[in-house]
Each structure stands twice: as C-alpha cells, then as structure tokens.
Symmetry: C2
Subunit: 254 residues, 2 copies
C-alpha cells in the first residue's frame, strides 16, 4: 500500500514543487513505484515534467469536481516508475466549487483510494495557501513534509502550518503525522541561514530532516528543460541532495 | 488623491512583501504620505514593520467582513509619512466569507474610499493566489506592480497574472493599468537570470521597469529586525534598489 506524503507550506516560493518533483524522481530511480499528484492550479509540478494540458484533456480538476476516476487521468511519464496526476489552471475555480460539497475535505482522499495499492509512494504538491486544496492534501496523507527556506518569514509560517496539521489530525485525518521539516535553498555562507536553522533546531529538535537541500542553480534550471534535476544534471549538488533525501525517507519508512 | 498600487503575483516567494514594505518606506522618506495595506493572512508586511496584532485588535479582517472603518484600524508606524493597515492570520477565513457578499470584489475599494484623500500613495501587499483577496486588491487599484523572479516558473505565472488583470479591467475596474514588471532577487552571475529577463524583455518590452532589485541578504535580514532595509542597512544594495524604484515610480506619476 502506498505511503502518501503531502508537501505543503502556505509560504510561497519555499521549494514545494522542486521538492515534490525531485523527490519523486529520486524515489523512482530507487525503483519505488511513485505517483506525483499536482493539486496546485499553477501546475508547476506538471510543467516540470513537460506536461502541459489543454482545456479538453481531463486533469485533477475533473477528478475533484465531477468524479472522473484518477486512473483515467494519470499520465505515465518518460521515467520508469514515475507517474503524474496533472493539474491545469482551471483548478483555480475548484476551491469555491468544493465549498458546497458534503465531504469537501475528503474528495482527494476518496479519489485516490482505488489506486493506492498500485504505488509505493504518492507525493502531493500543494499551492501556497491553507485553503481547501491543501486541506484535501493533508486529509489524504499519511505524513506532511514541510519545505522551508532558512529565512525570517519561514518561522512565522511554520507555526501556523503545524497548527493546521494538528487541526486536520484531530478532525479529519487521525493518521497524519509530520514526516519532517526540510531546509531548502540553503546557503551556508549566510549568517541568516545559520541563525534561522539554529532556531528551528531549537524549537523542533526531532523534526528537522537530516538532509539539507543547498541552493543550486541546476535545480532552478531543470524545469525550463521539463526534467527533474536528476535527469538534467545528475552530478549537480541539487540532484545529489534530493537523492539523499529519498534515501532518508526510504530508511525511515522501514 | 492617492495613487493606489497593488503588488500582486500568484507565484509564491517572488518578493511581493519585500517590495511592498521597502517601496512604501522609500516613498515615505521622499515625504509622500504612504499607506501600506496588508491583505495577506500571513501578515508578513505587518511583521516586517514590527506590528503583530493579537486576536482582540481590529485589523483588515474586520474592515472587510464587518465594515469597521479603515480609519479606526490604521496604525501610524514609527517612520514619518508611513502608515499601515495591518493583517492577522484570522484573515484566512475571509475568502470563504466574502463569497456570499453582493459586491464581494469591491469590498476593499469601498472601504478605502474615505481615506484616499489623506495619502499620496496606497500600496497593497497580496497573498500568493488569485483568490478574492487579490481580486479585491486589483479592483481597488489604479495600477498593478508585478514582482517576478528571473526563474523558469516566473514566465508561466506572468501570463496568467496579466490575463487576470485584463479580466478585472474589463469587468470590475476599467481604470486598472500595468505599472510594470519588476525583476527581483536578480543575480547577474546566473545564465538563467539573464535568459529569463531577456525573454521577458522580448515579450513585454514596454512593461519591464528600469529598476532591477538585486539579490541582497540585507533585504532578507531586515524583517527579522522588524524594519525596512532603508532603516536597517541604509547603504546596502537592497535599500538602494528600492530607493531607485521609488524614484522611477515618482517620475512616472508626474
Ligand atoms: N535548492 C534550490 N536552489 C536553487 N533554486 C531553487 C531551489 N529550490 C527551488 N528553487 C527555485 O526557487 C523558486 C521557488 O521554488 P518552487 O517553485 O519549487 O517553490 P514553491 O514553494 O513550489 O512555490 P509556490 O509557493 O509558488 O508553489 C523556483 O524558481 C525554483 O526553481
Ligand atoms: N532582493 C532580495 N534579495 C534577497 N532576498 C530577498 C529579496 N527579496 C526578497 N527576499 C527574501 O526572499 C523571501 C521571499 O520574499 P517575500 O516574502 O517578499 O516574497 P512574497 O512574494 O511576498 O512571498 P509570498 O508569496 O509568501 O507572499 C523572503 O525570505 C525575503 O526576505
Ligand atoms: Mg509550487
Ligand atoms: Mg508576501
């Protein structure tokens, strides 16, 4: 049965999509059957894997709002063991539409049930907000992986994110736990980065993941070639850090 | 009468708050009476000016949902000519609450009317989404200033943002125009930055602002001291770039 990891943080630009895409690619090369679910209307995870849908092709929007089966929408990517449930900008309208649904927080979780047995890992990339799309991700997940930048606003957002996680645990998804906090875009030449990561280590000693993803321009370049860094610049520090992260996640899962 | 500039981009982490805070501080030192409006539930603009409200103090949430007058909520900051309409995390609930309002896109614009004559500039910091809060910002504004990072996902988001701007122009706010596209966190050592900015210059030749804000750690450090960069590291490149931006905006307004 798949382990479902939701990658969320309402703070924008902290590396959610970069983590979702590169961690799923790394799990796939470790021959774990992996599904990447893109529930961000920006559809950045989809375009990072060269998938750009037009208006007529079904995507996660139809899965959430009109009950199209997930299996009919999943795309097998060019990479072995890596599939994608793609997004499209029309998903922007879903949050307001979902408000009227009876089980509005459980729509994604119910939609994924029929395919959970087909995968080892399912990763969910969320938009930068704590609205219904992210809540659906948290409700469907076994654990939350929270990327943060070692910068000032990170700490403020983290407390709010963890409070939301606890709320979802209590009322919607008791199995949800914290997979860990991931430091991204880390530049060890900056005092700010050292100070903030020290503060996080103090407040959340057991939750900081060992792997730190360093700032590396290859990670920012890879999406313009529509590939994960592993298949664009395999020997880059960025690709290496995400391979280490996959190793850490795989070892924890045992 | 105040010129109202909305600072928006649904892409996360592109420097919206950093631009809103530092541009307003720069306009204030040029002795322009400036109001910074924070309509992001993350309240990063508020905390950047050392303002952290508790549950009992009225903020923009009450202005939008229960009609508390803006004048009763505005805080004069410690900096001459700079006032703040603060936010708080409880604003998260506003988007769903506003859905039921008759003039739901015009709530901010109506609320600001009584104070427009008191200021030269009103800047609005938006959350990373194109939901009702950002739409309210676009509907209230004379112009849109769109910060973007010179990275791959920037181009995808920009097209969507400009389409939303046109939609708002047609249906909600005919006076809205594009103030300009601002390159932020620019690192001229990276090819990626040069390539993306070249692409933007090609597609939007007349809309790229002359000022480019360079990546500068002082801009990321200043919020942890609760000050704009101008009052934290006045001789830093970051503070300088935002002063230049203010100069460019002031000259255009003539
Ligand atoms: N370790 C890294 N080194 C260098 N650049 C990075 C790194 N991680 C992410 N980036 C770049 O930083 C930007 C923000 O990352 P990304 O888009 O993954 O964040 P996000 O949290 O998904 O953003 P959003 O909140 O908009 O969904 C992107 O341009 C990305 O390419
Ligand atoms: N020119 C710059 N140089 C260095 N760091 C910067 C610069 N501009 C912004 N930052 C830092 O980058 C991060 C993102 O910037 P900021 O929070 O202003 O973006 P935002 O678009 O408001 O994010 P959100 O989408 O979450 O509202 C912050 O930690 C900020 O301090
Ligand atoms: Mg993303
Ligand atoms: Mg912001």
């Amino acid at each position: 049965l798949a382990r479902i990891i939701v990658i969320a943080n309402q703070k924008g630009g902290v590396g959610k999509t970069t983590t979702a895409v590169n961690l799923s690619a790394s799990l796939a090369v470790a021959e774990k059957n992996t599904l990447l679910v893109d529930i961000d209307p920006q559809a950045n995870a989809s375009s990072s894997l060269s998938v750009r849908l037009n208006e007529d092709t079904a995507c996660i929007y139809e899965v959430l709002t009109t009950g199209v089966p997930v299996a009919d929408v999943i795309i097998k990517t060019e990479y072995n063991y890596l599939s994608l449930l793609p997004s499209h900008i029309r998903l922007v309208g879903a949050e307001i539409e979902l408000v009227g649904f009876k089980e509005r927080e459980h729509v994604l979780s119910s939609a994924l049930k029929p395919v959970i047995a087909d995968y080892d890992y399912i990763l969910i990339d969320c938009p930068p907000s704590l609205g219904l799309l992210t809540i659906n991700g948290l409700t469907a997940a076994d654990s939350l992986l929270a990327p943060i930048q070692a910068e000032y606003f990170a700490m403020e957002g983290l407390t709010q994110l963890l409070q939301t996680m606890k709320l979802v645990q209590r009322r919607l998804n008791p199995k949800l736990k914290l997979e860990g906090i991931l430091l991204t875009m880390y530049d060890n030449r900056l005092n700010l980065a050292k100070q903030v990561s020290e503060e996080i280590r103090q407040y959340f000693p057991k939750n900081l993941l060992k792997t730190i993803v360093r700032r590396n321009v290859r990670l920012a370049e890879a999406p313009s070639f529509g590939k994960p860094a592993l298949h664009f610049a395999v020997s880059s520090p960025g690709a290496g850090d995400y391979l280490s992260l996959a190793g850490e996640i795989l070892t924890r899962s045992k």
